[in-house]
């Protein structure tokens, strides 16, 4: 009896130490699930999900606090991949999908106030005080965060026209019976 108790106590002690050691030795920094979720998000940093950027939303989704259908720029495809990753059921998108667009500054109206520069999450706006600002179209994620701060409303969203290298075959339409 005593031997059994001692043996079990010894074993649990050894394993406890082992677990304790490995918890320190193999400690995972950060949240791997949040990282995975973040890698699937479109990184527009638009805040349309209600979180200040893609990372906070990814963390909320990883904690299970938030639905997976809040990402507007990601659209249906993102909902689907998130559902796949997290083993949740795909849900309909919370808001309507928007076609991709980039911001364009109206040159005549811009007063060079630099407010949009501070709002841009990806530093895609170039400018200096009292100088005309310009948008690097290739870096613009179309998040629309620069629209509200502009005091003269000189920023507009222009849908991205497709060119031949970026053209996609449309999803085959169901042919209707004649």
């Amino acid at each position: 009896m005593l031997i059994a108790i001692l043996a079990i106590a010894l074993l649990s002690g050894v394993f406890g130490l082992l677990l304790g050691y490995s918890a320190i030795r193999f400690k995972v920094e950060g949240d791997p699930v949040a990282d995975q979720v973040e890698s699937l998000l479109p990184q527009t940093q638009c805040g349309q999900c209600g979180y200040p950027g893609c990372r906070p939303y990814a963390e909320a989704v990883a904690r299970g606090e938030e639905e997976i259908n809040r990402c507007v720029p990601g659209g249906e495809a993102t909902v689907r991949t998130l559902a796949d990753l997290l083993g949740r059921d795909p849900v309909a998108l919370a808001v309507e999908e928007k076609p991709p667009a980039v911001a364009v500054i109206e040159e005549q109206t811009c007063i060079g106030c630099t407010l949009c520069l501070q709002a841009c999450p990806v530093d895609a706006i170039v400018g200096a005080p009292k100088q005309l600002h310009g948008i690097i179209a290739a870096e613009c994620t179309g998040c629309e965060l620069c629209l509200p701060p502009c005091p003269v409303e000189c920023i507009h969203m222009v849908p991205v026209g497709t060119d031949i290298p970026h053209w996609r075959w449309p999803y085959p339409a169901e042919r209707k019976a004649a």
Binding site: E38, L41, P42, Q43, T44, Q45, G53, C54, A77, R80, P121, V122, D123, A124, E139, T141, T162, D163, I164, H166, W167, R168, W169, P170, Y171, P172, E174, R175, K176, A177, A178
Partner: protein, 557 residues
């Protein structure tokens, strides 16, 4: 397979999986010789007629250009040069509709033809190419803007350079022309076999190939005999075999032809060069001959204009940039309004929405089909899992599975079923009893995968920029705080003025000095005790007083 042969060189042939027999309809257009078409009033020459980076325009609007003058120079390695097809005035460099399934526009150089057809000075012919370094000859091919004329239009100079560690043993010349209706290669082989063989000789020299196989479908007997005769007049007989192959769609696909002629399989995601094979179209060989031996750039090509809607179907020698409508008009216009106008053949071609699009280096056929030739397939029915698509697939894919996953937009699964090995030959869709547009689904899935890949890259870039911004803001905040702190300190320093440093430091110094003095006096007192009588009274009395002073000064600190 020897029974197939009216074979000049009976030899073993292999077969590929599947394939279908389709009415070849070649007799419509292969009767007459290749007919040169008159110059149109305007040439619209796209700057991207090849796979790879579009050419960069090197002429300005308003400039006069000569026939054969370089108007677009290659940008980067996988790119190709573009030349003016005739002399005239550059009136615009702007996006114009080009032959593409999307019907979109792409940058084009528009030339108002002056009718003189004045030639730019040709490059010096490299007749002695055998003694030249292959890279010099390759550079000429690149300069001449030669691309694969079989339809894919991959820059030929790139294909001819397999890299230092690969050796090309076999050169395959593709004269199969398996797609129904198209006869441009057939007519070219019949009429200009010697020009093709000149090109073959150059390609052999560039590739260093040991054997050359010219594969031609056996429904082109005249082309086979023309090439065999032309071959007899050259010293290439030992190296070159003209091989008739059974007529079966898609035997003209690069991988399929390699399989038929050599029995080898090109690895999935691989290229023929990996197994020591270079495959070139007959038209490409002829263009290489022009470029090297005559110094002529690629500015025209043979185009089949056919279909039962066309009054007089035939093959035309067309300057690149001629609008499609001019070709139809030259063939007598429409006999009856076409149900659809295709660019390419009925199996792999795509519908042209606008007949004004120009002929490019990739345009091998304009096909105007009547309603009888291209009946409306009716609504797509449900897949009944009959498996006929899998039976005919030349790549041994499972078209059904690809269809299900593409339809469900489950692109990862579709890729698991080797979506990207699909050559889009259209066999599966042709045999599908439910008339499902299978190839359309695969094309959708492929472009969607590419687009998502692009989106993913863009997202990664945005993430890095966002992160960099956050780090920058953090850094700026810290710098600001540090600055503030420094400022505060210096302000505080100034506020208390001279008093503080003057009071603090001298005070400490005074304490220190006092302590030292005290210690010294103590020491002196201890040492001096035995000699106290020697008149050290004042020092003995001052020692405790000094200690007291030190204590007093110390207290407030």
């Amino acid at each position: 397979m020897s029974h197939l042969a009216p074979a000049p060189s009976p030899r073993r042939l292999w077969t590929f999986h599947g394939g279908i027999h389709v009415p070849d309809e070649k007799a419509l257009s292969n009767g007459g010789p290749i007919d040169p078409i008159p110059l149109p009033p305007r040439l619209v020459i796209p700057l991207a007629q090849h796979i790879g980076t579009p050419a960069r325009p090197c002429v300005r609007v308003g400039e006069r250009v000569l026939k054969g003058q370089l108007i677009g120079e290659p940008q980067g390695y996988v790119s190709s040069a573009v030349h003016a097809s005739s002399s005239g005035l550059v009136v615009a460099i702007e996006p114009r509709p080009v032959p593409h399934p999307s019907g979109l526009s792409a940058p084009c150089v528009v030339i108002e033809v002056d009718g003189e057809d004045a030639c730019a000075p040709l490059a010096e012919p490299l007749t002695d190419y055998v003694h030249l370094d292959p890279s010099v000859v390759r550079e000429r091919v690149r300069w001449a803007g030669v691309v694969g004329l079989g339809g894919a239009s991959f820059p030929t100079s790139v294909k001819l350079n397999p890299g230092p560690d690969r050796r090309l043993k076999t050169l395959i010349i593709n004269g199969a022309e398996c797609e129904p209706y198209i006869t441009c290669d057939d007519r070219l082989m019949r009429e200009q076999p010697a020009r093709i063989l000149e090109g073959v000789r150059i390609l052999r020299h560039l590739a260093g190939a040991e054997r050359i196989l010219i594969g031609i479908e056996d429904n082109k007997a005249a082309a086979i005999s023309a090439l065999v005769q032309a071959l007899a007049a050259t010293d290439l007989q030992q190296l070159v075999s003209v091989i008739p192959i059974p007529t079966l769609y898609p035997s003209g696909g690069e991988r399929q032809l390699i399989r038929i002629l050599t029995g080898l399989e090109v690895p999935s995601h691989g290229i023929p060069a990996q197994i020591g094979i270079l495959c070139q179209n007959v038209g490409t060989a002829a263009a290489v001959a022009d470029a090297v031996l005559r110094g002529q750039p690629l500015i025209s090509r043979v185009v089949t204009v056919t279909g039962r809607s066309v009054a007089a179907p035939r093959n035309l020698e067309v300057p690149i940039g001629t609008p499609a409508s001019a070709l139809i008009a030259h063939c007598g216009g429409y006999r009856q309004p076409p149900r659809k106008l295709l660019c390419g053949g009925p199996m792999m071609g795509f519908e042209l929405r606008d007949a004004e699009v120009p002929v490019t280096k990739a345009t091998n056929c304009l096909l105007a089909l009547t309603a009888a030739e291209a009946p409306d397939p009716g609504p797509a029915l449900a897949c009944i899992r009959c498996g006929r698509c899998a039976e005919v697939c030349p790549v041994r894919l499972l078209p059904q599975q690809l269809y299900w996953h593409s339809r469900a937009k489950d692109l990862d699964r579709a890729q698991d079923y080797n979506l990207f090995d699909c050559i889009e030959c259209g066999c599966c869709a042709a045999v599908c009893p439910s008339h499902i547009p299978l190839v359309h689904y695969y094309r959708y899935a492929k472009t969607e995968v590419w687009a998502r890949e692009q989106d993913r890259r863009k997202a990664e870039q945005a993430r890095l920029r966002h992160q960099a911004r956050l780090e920058r803001l953090e850094r700026q905040e810290q710098e600001r705080k540090a600055k503030l702190r420094r400022k505060k300190e210096s302000l505080e320093g100034k506020g208390e003025g001279e008093a503080k440093p003057a009071s603090e430091d001298p005070r400490r110094a005074a304490i220190e000095a006092a302590r030292q003095r005290a210690a010294a006096k103590k020491q002196a007192a201890i040492e001096g005790l035995p000699t106290a009588g020697k008149g050290s009274g004042p020092s003995g009395a001052s020692a405790p007083r000094a200690a007291e002073t030190a204590k007093r000064i110390e207290e407030p600190t």
